[in-house]
């Protein structure tokens, strides 16, 4: 996870406080609800210039910080290949 990702994530995690955010951090436990999840998604799409397809918008994707980061990485890799 890069620093930008963690910085972007933190405001959406109302229970995270000062604790370190790791790939295993569970997004729901840190306070990400389904309303904020969609806002976070838009922020990630802007920051990483990707479009997240509907089939990725499932509970598993929003399980942990790592699962979300993996999805972004996969989408970026896919776009590089396409280009």
């Amino acid at each position: 996870m890069d620093a930008q990702f963690v910085t972007l994530l933190r405001p959406f995690l109302k229970y995270a406080g000062d604790q370190e955010i790791t790939p295993d951090s569970r997004l729901r436990d840190l306070g990400l609800d389904s309303m904020r999840a969609i806002e976070l998604l838009f922020a990630l799409e802007d920051a990483y210039d990707v479009v997240v397809p509907d089939e990725k918008l499932v509970e598993d994707t929003f399980e942990t910080c790592g699962s979300l980061w993996t999805m972004i990485q996969e989408l970026r890799a896919g776009q590089r290949e396409a280009a």
Binding site: Y15, R28, D29, S34, M35
Partner: protein
């Protein structure tokens, strides 16, 4: 979803319970008391165990059976229908997610009519957010200590079992929530106040404090796993059950009005009356269709928490609440002051109106619309379930 799909025994049970409810509902509404006789009939007839699997001595009912029974009960008394539907919601959650030992112990007792289940999910200060709990718990040597205050516990004074949401022991945030089963004698129960609402008075939904130590094996689902139970079971069962209760209430009211119009030889050429009646009837048919469709989707989709399914399930609740209340409001206009507004009319529209006014508030429509707004943004293809 028609009554004919229920087996004869279940249909007889529903008819018997409705007969008792017809006798008891007026007094229970007036006193805001729990319909003890009617729930007693549910125990005696086995209706309380409709959703218990047959291997545990229950009715092995389907979601369609649950809805059909609830609609029928709602025609007699909305509160009774709600009490039944919510009990079944707890029961199905326990059956699907409870550990085997607990299922073997509790489900036969429910089937035998010995255990009526109440739900303890409300909490002050969380704004109705089901997926949060401020009630911290501690676990020691396999026991979890519960000390929980809930502003609304339907039937809490009469239940033998409770499904209680609490924070996961040693949780780091209020969104780590567990569902725990507790028997009545495992808890000290204190009723903290009365119940004098506008409608749904016989649900007797009192504020309570529950304190006790419960074996951690009585947890329903994985640790912190209440979210999954809500998405796949609690949410769908609640919305189907509530919609069925409201549909029954509105259909019963409409039936009494039509009988009244026929008896009174109302002018069949009155265009105003006919269009009002047609609009009311259409509202009921729309809700009935939405209810039946939602049940078939829940029965056939692999993932009951898929975005299109969640959207549909929430829409069922929101639209049923709006349409059923609007239908009864329209019936009040149709029959006028004497039969529409006064509580002693045999048409009982005044009570149905008060009961159904709660529908949009009973898990707030506004909250579900917000949820559906963000869900709709996840589905650019608009995959209609």
């Amino acid at each position: 979803m028609t009554a004919t799909r229920m087996d004869v025994q279940a249909r007889d049970a529903v008819a018997e319970v409705c007969a008792v409810a017809d006798d008891e509902a007026g007094a229970a509404d007036e006193a805001a008391s729990f319909p003890v006789e009617t729930v007693g009939a549910m125990r005696r007839t086995g209706l309380l165990g409709l959703m218990v699997p047959m291997e545990f001595g229950g009715g092995g009912g389907s979601l369609a059976d649950l809805a059909a029974a609830t609609v029928a009960l709602g025609r007699s008394d909305t509160s009774v229908a709600m009490i039944f539907a919510m009990h079944c919601q707890q029961l199905v959650a326990l059956d699907r997610f409870g550990p085997d030992e607990l299922r073997r112990r509790v489900l036969p007792a429910v089937a035998a009519g010995e255990v009526y289940l109440a739900s303890v999910t409300t909490e002050t200060g969380k704004g109705g957010n089901l997926l949060m709990s401020e009630s911290a718990t501690t676990a020691r040597d396999g026991w979890v200590h519960i000390d929980r205050t809930a502003p609304i516990v339907t039937g809490g004074e009469h239940a033998e079992g409770f499904l209680v949401t609490v924070q996961t022991p040693d949780a780091t945030s209020p969104s780590q929530v567990d569902l725990v089963f507790a028997e009545r004698d495992q808890l000290e129960l204190e009723v903290l106040g009365g119940w004098q609402p506008l409608g749904m008075r016989a649900t007797r939904s009192v504020p309570m404090r529950l304190v006790g130590d419960v074996p951690w094996e009585q947890r329903i689902g994985e640790p912190g796993g209440f979210r999954t139970i809500v998405a796949t079971t609690f949410g769908p069962l609640a919305h189907v059950g509530w919609a069925a209760a409201w549909l029954g209430a509105a259909a019963g009211a409409c039936s009494r009005v039509v009988s009244h119009l026929r008896r009174e030889h109302v002018d069949p050429s009155s265009e105003l009356q006919l269009t009002r009646l047609a609009t009311t009837r259409a509202r009921l048919d729309v809700v009935r269709a939405l209810l039946a469709h939602t049940i078939s989707v829940l029965d056939s989709w692999d993932d009951p928490a898929a975005t299109p399914v969640q959207l549909l399930v929430n829409t069922l609740k929101v639209r049923a609440a709006e349409e059923c209340f609007a239908a009864v409001d329209e019936l009040v206009e149709l029959v006028g002051l004497r039969h529409g507004y006064l509580p002693d009319s045999p048409l009982r529209l005044e009570r149905a109106f008060r009961d159904l006014r709660s529908a949009s508030l009973n898990y707030a429509n506004a909250r579900l619309l917000l949820a559906n707004g963000s869900l709709a943004l996840r589905d650019t293809e608009v995959r209609l379930a």
